[in-house]
Symmetry: C2
Subunit: 250 residues, 2 copies
């Protein structure tokens, strides 16, 4: 690692990165490329320090940063592991609906359709692909108990996950992010969301058991992998009578 950047480079401004940041970036790549696989235990701090030719403290700083990004999990006395999406974790991390008392809700899933379609200009822009790129288009309804509460459209570039459609017959009820990781080694690390209030279309109204025009909370989410590349575009429309979307601002 010391050899990655000469002393003069390190002092020359633009290219300078602290050692721990270089170590972290390399480790992130290793996770993104599958060299370190989800669930795998990685070497301890001293072994990594030797490998990168830095001190254990520098490795620690990189690991702390990776843990903050939720790319690894550390357990005192056990070791450090590459983070794995379990259905529970995927929901806890990315699903923000709570009931009136503030308790987190867990939905079940009911598939409606799955096809492939060319990306519109807008969809392509959001996903960072060329317009016309083939996308998987999956629609489903999600329920809280027996109450249909969410109408959802999921769009994923076919090139990223060629066999996605095949798996869906059986695994549709699973968390999509678990499927992406287990079948395609693609880990969703973060997402950006845009929220608006909209009127239910006739189709949405029918599936959500409300009248046409009923106000729905629309969430447009772009989910990204560990390197920040967009992987999935998801448009969700929530019935928010007894439920609400919870977030913290700091």
């Amino acid at each position: 690692m010391r050899a990655v950047m000469s002393e003069t480079e390190r002092k020359s401004g633009a290219a300078f990165q602290p050692l721990y940041a270089q170590v972290k970036a390399t480790m992130t790549q290793w996770i993104g490329s599958g060299r370190w696989q989800p669930g795998e235990m990685i070497p301890n701090e001293f072994q990594l320090a030797a490998e990168f030719n830095v001190s254990q403290g520098t490795v620690r700083k990189a690991l702390m940063a990776l843990e903050a990004d939720k790319l690894i999990v550390r357990h005192q006395g056990r070791g450090t592991y590459v983070a794995r999406h379990t259905p529970q974790r995927a929901l806890f991390q990315f699903f923000r609906m709570v009931d009136e008392g503030g308790k987190r809700l867990t939905p079940t899933s009911q598939p409606l359709s799955q096809t492939q379609r060319k990306a519109t200009r807008e969809q392509a822009r959001l996903l960072g692909v060329e317009p016309g790129t083939m996308l998987h288009v999956i629609t489903r309804v999600r329920l809280f108990g027996a109450d249909p509460a969410i109408f959802e459209r999921i769009l994923v570039p076919v090139a990223l996950m060629p066999e996605l459609a095949v798996t869906l017959g059986t695994e549709m009820t699973d968390e999509m992010y678990v499927i992406y990781q287990d079948r395609f080694l693609i880990t969703i690390a973060r997402a950006s969301e845009r929220l608006r209030a909209v009127r239910a279309t006739r189709e949405e109204a029918r599936h959500l058991a409300v009248e046409e025009g009923y106000p729905l909370l629309e969430v447009v989410r772009i989910a990204k992998d560990v390197n920040g590349k967009p992987v999935e575009l998801r448009i969700s429309r929530y019935k928010t009578k007894e439920y609400s979307y919870a977030t913290e601002v700091t």
Copy 2:
């Protein structure tokens, strides 16, 4: 600081806190109590280390945590300062509306009314006060350019900010959080929000230039001080045709 907790206490489980966490907690109290005031430069790491009887590295870890909480700002070569709410910072930190291109929007403000009223049971619960406690109730419309986009009700316990009403005639257009800090030494450090889609009431429709029943994005925010105590309850209703609420999930 070493004296705060004996060795036996430190080993006895429940009460145990790492040294840097104890240092951080003490510093947070100093900021909350006004012993360290907004904008003030605080002593350097070595002076603090001497004062707390810990090493400079431990102080640093506490300071890094305070910086992550946005309670202080650090500048290499200049020093460490207690964070101050400027209108720009308050907006950047807490105002999440963006236009269709994703650019942050800055609203202007137009006051509608200010009164005092007893807290309902629900309002009291959210603010952590007794039902019937007197609250300032402020309503206003916020605009993007000439477009009235937000209808907002702000509720603050009178006991926390007795003279709030007096200041409002002139400063209504300012960021409330700047007023809370400058006039009452209360710093808003974080907030929790609940979002739903609702129908515009007749009054909201009139102020926002939409028809009654138009879908609005409702944001219920509880703003808290550095110690996590609720200070303000704010119900905002956003017209989200050309604007949307942006958030990141990690």
